[in-house]
Structures are given as C-alpha cells and as structure tokens.
Symmetry: D2
Subunit: 339 residues, 4 copies
C-alpha cells in the first residue's frame, strides 16, 4: 500500500487507442505516469508529450524503452509493428501491455512467444479488455464456481452499428470475432479445436463485398460448442451478449448491464447486499472528481448549503414521523456563495 | 494533464468509511496520496500510517491539517466531530470532502456555512455519493435535458437487508432517507418544503420499537411530490430505486443497473453506440490491474499464449469463412511458461 | 362437463362496453348465448339483435329480464341506470354481471345491497376485471400464500394516454382510481379506512381544470399503506403497475406482462415447468380458431404441406444428427392446393 | 355472429393431449361440442363420454366419423395412427385438426397430401400451436411488416426440464425441434434447405445414450441461417425463446412473456395504448367465469359489498382530493350475506 515507485510508462503508438491510454494513465490510473510517448509522426508525439510533466517524445520505440525513466511499455501501434516492439521490450526486460492483436498472425506470435520464453518469465499482458468487464467477470466467477455444473454451450452476439470504409470479411474474424475467441478460451479454459462459418444472404445495409452478418461456430477441446453472431452493420447499436448454457442453469450478460440467470424454475439476477458493493463505483468516482477539482483549484459537488438543507429537512422529517402530521420545513435564504 | 503536484490528503477518522477512503486514495485514485491519517485511537492511526509511504499518524485533526504535506482533508469521523474539523480546515483554507451528514443538525450546519462564507469561497464538498452513480447521472442528464418535459413526481424505494442493534426511527430519516432528500433536491433542483410520514403496521422482521417500513412524502418548492419507501429490514437485499414521472415520459433506475424509460408507446433503454462507452470501465480496470501487477513485480492477464492462440484460431476462422467448411485449428503444444 | 343448458343472457346497454360483451358472449364464451339486447335506442338494439340467432331487442330492461329465454343479465348501461335494473333482476331472481361502478354513490349501493339481502342469496358480480388478469391473479396467489409474509405496502401506478373532453378531477377517483380501490381491497382482504390526495403542479399536457397527475394514499383496516399514482394524460401509454411490499420480499406486475419479485438476494420471475402452462392460451386460441373457421366453412392454419415439410426436415435432421454432416433436405414441388 | 350450428367434434385419441382437448372444447371453446370420443381403450372412452351430454364413445375412428352428429374431427392419437384416420376423414369430407406430427415420416405425409388433393380442397389443420401464441404472433406481425427489413437469422432455444424414460436422440428432432422447424418456416415463409447438427459433450444430467444438448442449424431457401439450442434435460424449466435478427433491428420473445426489440439505439417493448388491449384476456376470463358459475347455480367474483365499498371510498377520495386533508371513510357493518 504505497504511492512510492510511480510506474513510468512508455506509450507506443498514439492513435485513437494510444491517445486514450495516455489520458487513462495520466488521469484515471493510480500509481503510474506517462514517461514517454512514441509515434512515427514526431510532431504528434511532441504535442502530446509537451502537455505532460516529465514526459519525453520519441519516434523510435527502442529509444523510448531505453530511457531510464521507463519502467514498462504499453503498445498501441498498428498490429504489424508489435513484434519488433515486443522483442525490444524483452531485451530490456520490460513488462508490456500489448493491445490486441498480439501480432497479425500465428507465425509471428510464435516467434514472440519463443523470445519471451528465452527471457525466462512472463512479460506480456495482451489487451483483451473483456476479461475486465464487470459483467463478464461475474459470468466468469459463476462458471468457475461450477454452481450450475459444467458449461456446455456459449451463445454469443457481437453487433456494431456500422463499419468504416475498407472493412473486409477477414477483419470480421481478426478484429471482431477475435474477442469471442478470447472470451471462449477464457471462460471455458479450453482451446478452440475447429471453426465453421455460415454466411446468410447479406443484409442490404452491408457494404458491397462484405458478407454481413455471419454465424461462426467453435468446437472446443473440452467438447463445448459455441455460436457467435457477428453483425457489424446492424444499424442499431454496439451490443455484446453472451449466454453460457450449463448443466443445471444458464446465465447471460449484455442486456442492460446485468447478469441474468436461469436456474431451478426462476430467472433473474442478484440483488446487492449492501451499499459498499452497490455504490463502489460511485465512491471511486466521487473521490476522483474531488481530487481532480482540488488539483485544478476548484470546488465542486454537493456544497455546505446542500448539507444544511439536508439537515433541515431531516429535522422536519423526524418531527413528521413523530407527530404523523404534514410538517413544513424552514430554510434560511440561500447565501450568495451557494447560488 | 499532469502527474505533478500529487495531492496530499489528510483522512480524518479511520472507521469503516475512513479506512475505505484511505484504500481508495492509495490504490484507486489518480493524482492523490494519503499524507496523514487521524484517529482518536492513536494505535489504529499508527498501524494504518505505517503501511503507507510518507504518511503520518495523528490523533488531532488540527495538527494533521497543519502539516505542510497536507493539501486537502477528507472527513470521515462521526457526525458530531465534523463541525470542529471543518472550522479548522477553513482556518487553513483547505478544501474538504466531508462524509454525510455535514453536521448532525441544521443549527450546526448554519454555523459551518457562515464560517465558509467568511472564508469567501467554497471549500466543502459533501459526500452524497449517489450524485456520482452511473445510473443516477444518466437520470439526472435525462431530466436536465427536459426531453420528457418537467418532472412531476419521484417514486423512490430505499431498502436495506437489516439494521444493526440500536438503529432508531430517527436514524431511518437522518441516515437513510437523507440520501433521498439530497437526491430529490439534486434531481429537481428544488427545495423540499413539507414532509409527511405514514407508518404502516411494522413488519414482523423489524426490531421492537422500530416502525419499519415507512412511507415518507416530500412536497417541493416547484410543486412536485415525492414518495419514499424506506424499509431497512426488508431481508432480501440493498435496493435503491427511483422513478421520475415527467410530462411525457417516465424513467427509472435501480433495476439491474440500467436506466429504463417509458415514452411514446415504448418502454426500454439505450443501446451503447460504440465500444468506448460500452467497455470504458473495462479499459480503466485493465490498465489499473496491469499497473498494480507491474509495480508488484508480477505479470497477469491474457498472456502471449493467449495472443498466439487467438491468432491461430483467427487463421482457421478466415479459412472456414472462405471455404464454407469446418476447419480444424492447429496449436503447438503449450510451453511450460504459459501453463 | 356439459354443453346442455346454454345460458341465455340479456345484455343491458349496448355502448362500447356492452357491444363488446355481446361479441364476447357470442364468439368467445363457452356455454352462453345472447338472448336479449336492451338499449334506449330501439334502432341500435334491433340492428344488433338481427345479427344474432334467437336474440330479441328491447328498450326496457324489465321486459327483457321477463323473457323466458333470459337466464341471466349483464348490465353495461350508464351507472345511474344500474340501480333500477338491478332491483328488477332481483325481483326475477336473475344472476347479474354488473359493470363497474355498481351504482354512482354509496347510498344507492346500500339500497341495492339491502334488496339483494332480501332476496336471501348473492345475485350480483361486479365487473372489476383486474381480478381476472393473469398477472394480478399470480400476485394474489403469491400474497395469499404468505410466502413473503404479510403485505405491508402497495405501490400502484395507473396511467392513461389522455382523457376525453369533459373528464373531471372527480372522475379520476370514480372512474380510474376505483380500480386501485378494488385491487387494494381484494389483494389485502382489508377495508380502506382513510384516503389522502396530494396534487403536484399539473402537467402542461393536462387539460385546464384537471389536476393531473395526483398521488392518492390509502390506509387500511389491517395497517397497510397504499400509494397510487394516477396520471391520466401521461402521453406514452396505458400502464397499470402494482408492487406489493411484504415482510421478506416484494413482487410487482405490469412490466411487460410478467410477475417479477425480489426475495433472498435475487430478483426475477418464475420459469414455466411445462408446455401445458406455457402454451395454454395458444392451445385455447388454436382450437377456437379452428372451430370458427370450420363453422364458416373454411380451412386455415398449418396445412398438410406444413406437416409434410416438417417431416421431411426432421428426416434430414435425424441424418445430420447421426452423421455430423450438413444434410440437404429434399421436398417435392409444392402442389397448387397449398400455394 | 350466431350460436346456431354448434360444431359436433369427434376427438380421436384420449391420452394427455386428447383429454385436454375434450375439456377445452367442452368448457373453453365457443360454438363447439364434443359429439364423439374415440379410444382403443373402450372403457376409457366410455367413462369420458358418460360425463358429456350427447357424446358417444367409440373404439373405431371410422365409426365415429360416420356419425351424423359429427361435423369435424380432432386427431390426438399416436402419430402412426394418423394416416388412416386422416384418409377416413377425407372420405367423409370432414375438416380435421390433427395434432403434430401430421404423420411419422415424409412418405406417409406425401400420401396424405395426395389424398387431400384428390378431395380437391384443404381439410387439414396441423396442430403447431406456437403459431397461436400471443408472443409469436407479435413477432410474426413485426417480421411481416418488414419494419426492421428482411430477417437474416433466427436464434432459437428450446429447453425442457427433463425427459421421460425412453426418450431418444431422434425424438429430440422429431418431437422437439419439429416446433422450431415449423416456426422457422412460418416466420420466414421459406423452406429449410439444409440441416447440420453439432453435439457437445453431453450434460451429466442427461440420460445415458442421449446426446443432450445439441445445436441444430438450418439454412433456408431465402438464404437465412437459423440456430436452435435443443436441451431437453436443462433442469430449470420449460423455456422457448426466439430472436429474429433483421437488417435494422432484432426482436425476441420468450423472456417473461413479452416481445423485446432492439432498434435505432434503443432496446425495449411496446406499451399498450388502452385498457381494451391490456385487459382483453381479463374481460374474456371474467365473462367466462361468470357464465360457468351461473350455469353451476353459484355466484362468485366481486360482490355488491365490493361495489358499495368502492363507492364509499370514492366518496372519501373525492372529498380528500377537494380538501387536501386526510379523509376517513365510513362503511356500514358488513352484512352476513357478504362475509
């Protein structure tokens, strides 16, 4: 439990995901700072670095990872650049968070894996972020508990509003279904042994040459079957759902952000048992917002006036409770400071 | 956008809420550190401080707030101790996050408010954490947009599993309904002008002398009516729900963590439009976990093996997609490092 | 179990509700027929009667109820006409289904009750149709079981899209809230002992002079408290909801036609246990449609072709199941009779 | 609109389904009566017939269908007996409602179809009852409207609590999935052109020799793809769900008896627009119950006392509304007749 040893991170690649990770490390994450940003566009890297104390801009990942300020690397450059950056990080024994995909194909991934084994210990975490989603974590915990027995099937849906120009059939697998591939392997702790793809007549909303939607089937080493609807031009929203079918119950996530299960004649979900779990995120957000405002030199959130008004209404409430009668509250005029 | 000027916070009071806030600032919050902990129990404060770099233990709030390491205070001591601590903070011009209640009654709150006005600017944020809950924030945004017109009524439910020994009728108002008091004032931006309390025959599950549940009614300065079911021994869970009834629609939060609304012949909720909003929390959690593990000198999360396996399955998937045939994947044997 | 003794019903009043009841008895109800229709508009009654075999038109309820063909009466005339019709029915010892309200006020209802007592046995059923709604019946059964203990509160919502011209504040009670009055008395099996009405500032969508919405509170002889939101110009739909708060759980109806309950850390609903309960209504509808079509001399619904196609696909399915291979079906060309 | 010409039905087969249809025609259906029951167990048929006025028992379907009292036949005997009964019905030109399956295989179904074509007009309705389920009817109407464009995929789940002894893999297709076969053909108005079956490692809850669950895939003549989870020993309930994925939205039925759809950034369902649609079934049930009670010589349902009490509370409510004050109701003592 220490704030010492703040982690100096080099963020490699500052496109949409990279820039967002810079913001995240800088403003959201506890215990880390952005020590270096790397982009082949030198101007872009410099502009970003200039806004962060103690942050240096680079165009070469190796140079950034060679800096004594850098304790770890976050790779968010395009997939084809990952292998070289990872190998450099291994040379320096730097831990790496690598955005998915690890590398663009299995052969290059094998080479990375061999290099990491030579390093003798794990250095890489791959950015499959669903493993950190609150709902998926609940589903994983439920399956691990084996409360419903073994998992027999997964029904998955992965829907995007629309695709950018140039999106291909291969990208439906490599960029989209890859998440269900990881989810399947993680939830079941089994490898995928066979894949089948069914392609219905495409939606009229799909770009020409894109076979959208598709139904992808996985068979796993433990004998489970998984179906994945991938529909990347569904038009109505970004919707990721997963239902696990187990021996004595099923459970799904992705409907309005809650885990809903079927078991023993009942469907439904858990009810929190206290405010600590129910409002954990709210407390986190509250304190972060207060720290942010204070560091900016401002004061926000519920004011002393709000505290006073609550106290005054409580007093009326306690009287109303005791007497059974409608009880009028009385507040002083609101001071200028609180208007 | 800077990590410089990390905020030194004095946490005053280290009971359940205070200790949790120490953990939060230390491990979750970006840009702040616990510089001082204060408790009348010197041993308790010392034990907590010893585990945090650069943190000093105190028994006197004034002494802690006098330290040059302290830039701000978080008050989590019992309500009756708040007034003195707040006045000390004002003397030192320190920003304060004060756990609710501000003070135990309206008179003391008035004195605090007068002192803050003498300081000439706002220093206090009161810890009504519901204002930071994701669902309530969505409800607030919907009401502020006036998309459904003016808000006419609120229906609120506040249910606890059970009460600790010594819980009184007054505490049902002062400790529980106080949240609905603040929620009402915040959502409607109106003051509460009258309160009525109805008390049905108590549940057999309620402790003797506790009139549980109760129905509390608020009338507001803008002519709205609010009903609050307060049921602190409901037995089944901690459940906080709120439905706003507006001129052309209604919306409720608290069912399975989503905002559900009625309007124009349809009930339902919003669907996220991209992965950034849908998985924002997952990304935050992913990076925080990676930073935490790295600082501990460990590597966790999806491994290079997971990245390789995903790539190998993607390759099979793309072939399956192109051929229409069931396609077997081929993986190397899992290296020892990744078992 | 007999079709003999088909009940001859006199329908008194042939406005919207009356005409609908004529249709219902004629086309939906088993074991009854419309033997007489009564309306002060002789032409209207005659037109209706002419379309029904063995049905006679009347303008005088007493004359209709005097017919030897009439075994029972359904009163759907305006409320002020109910008392006279009921007294006539009692003279003839006819069972009556009387649309709500029984009579327009308590005094006239008392007179009817005295007359029925003189008859010495019950003759009247009042048309509070919610007692026959599938959801309310489930809620009633749950409360009667006392599985969740005693019922402490009811939270009710009664929303209409909009009101016809001339709708008054009194009608909000007499025509709308009267349903919650009966629901409360039926669900709790208690009398209502006190009523309070709160009137927020009206919606801008409400007609002038109508105080809409209102919050109506009931206290009952058993110490329960009931709140009713009545909002007759909500704009978005007709929505009737009721949540019963009990000692160890709560349950609500009116969200998407299912009973949802909270108990012991779980929210959710029951899952049917077999097809007989799940598809009971479908079976009823299937047979009724078949009888209706057959009596009209037509044949509808799934055809022999549908039966053949299902058999052919089953055969392919059983082969696919046995071989593990994709199996093509083969159908003959669709004969003209089934196109 | 007539009660004349009540349809005389011969029910052939009086097992579980047949006996239930006898009850349905006798007690629920308007305009029909059971004129004959047929079972190879003469005693069983006689016992059933004896309880119904004007009903004759038979052991031979042909004899029953030859009776002048019989206008139509409902076949609920075992599947292998259907062909002979259907051919006899065609000889007598009798309309038939035939429980599924039409016949046990495609060849026999072809023979039936040929015979019906010789008759020159349709006589058969097959008992695929899902086409009459309220939810499926809503889904069908939505798809037919093409409001969401063309239907691209169906995701179906068909779950049973458990199977009786002797249930085979083939029966999973022929008795269970046959419903999804018909549903697919009806919803899409397309033929099924290919079938594939995937069989995960069976659940430990499945009887030996049963490969349960299975994933069945259909391809259709219009290029749609359908997946069906069939899980006949799921343990938790009877659950039938179907989600249609269309070009600009999706919609599913089977969760708590409502149609839920996704479209244009919103998930949710329709809200009824008036009480006629919302309470249609309640009205039907109300009148049927009243007719049933009256024919039995009893009076049930809300009594005159209920009508009086509602009127008295309304009077208090109108006063409370006008005065703003809590208003006590006053009821006479409840007369003995209504206790």
């Amino acid at each position: 439990m220490t704030k010492q040893g703040t982690l100096g991170v080099a963020v490699i690649g500052t496109g949409r995901m990279g820039a967002d990770h810079v913001r995240r490390i800088n403003e959201v994450t506890s215990g880390a700072r952005v020590a270096a940003v790397v982009d082949i566009d030198a101007e872009r890297a410099k502009q970003l670095a200039d806004r962060i104390d103690g942050c240096t801009a680079y165009t070469d990942p190796a140079a950034a990872m060679g800096s004594p300020d850098v304790d770890a690397a976050l790779i968010a450059s395009p997939g084809p650049a990952h292998e070289a950056a990872l190998l450099k990080a291994f040379e320096r024994d730097l831990p790496v968070l690598c955005e998915k995909p690890l590398t663009p194909d299995a052969d290059s991934a094998l080479r990375v894996m061999e290099a990491e084994q030579k390093a003798g210990h794990r250095l890489v975490s791959v950015g499959f972020m669903r493993r950190y989603d609150a709902e998926y974590l609940k589903l994983k915990a439920l399956l691990d508990s084996e409360r419903f027995g073994r998992t027999l099937m997964l029904h998955c849906k992965h829907r995007n509003v629309s695709t950018p120009p140039g999106f291909t059939n291969q990208m439906m697998i490599n960029d989209s279904v890859v998440h269900e591939i990881d989810t399947t392997r993680w939830l079941l702790e089994q490898e995928i042994t066979a894949v089948t793809v069914l392609r219905p007549t495409p939606s009229s909303g799909a770009p020409e040459a894109l076979s959208d939607p598709q139904l992808v089937l996985f068979e796993t080493s433990g004998g489970s079957v998984v179906d994945v609807e991938i529909f990347v031009n569904c038009g109505f929203g970004y919707q990721v759902q997963c239902e696990a079918v187990c021996e004595s119950g099923s459970a799904r996530v992705g409907d309005g952000h809650a885990l809903v299960s079927n078991t023993a004649g009942r469907w439904g979900g858990d009810i929190d048992q206290d405010f600590v779990t129910r409002f954990e995120d709210a407390y986190d957000r509250e304190v972060q917002r207060w720290v942010d405002a204070t560091r900016r030199g401002t004061v926000e959130g519920p004011s002393t006036w709000d505290g006073y008004a609550a106290a005054a209404v409580c007093e009326a409430g306690v009287r109303a409770q005791a007497t059974g009668a409608r009880t009028v509250t009385s507040l002083i005029e609101r001071p200028a400071l609180y208007r």
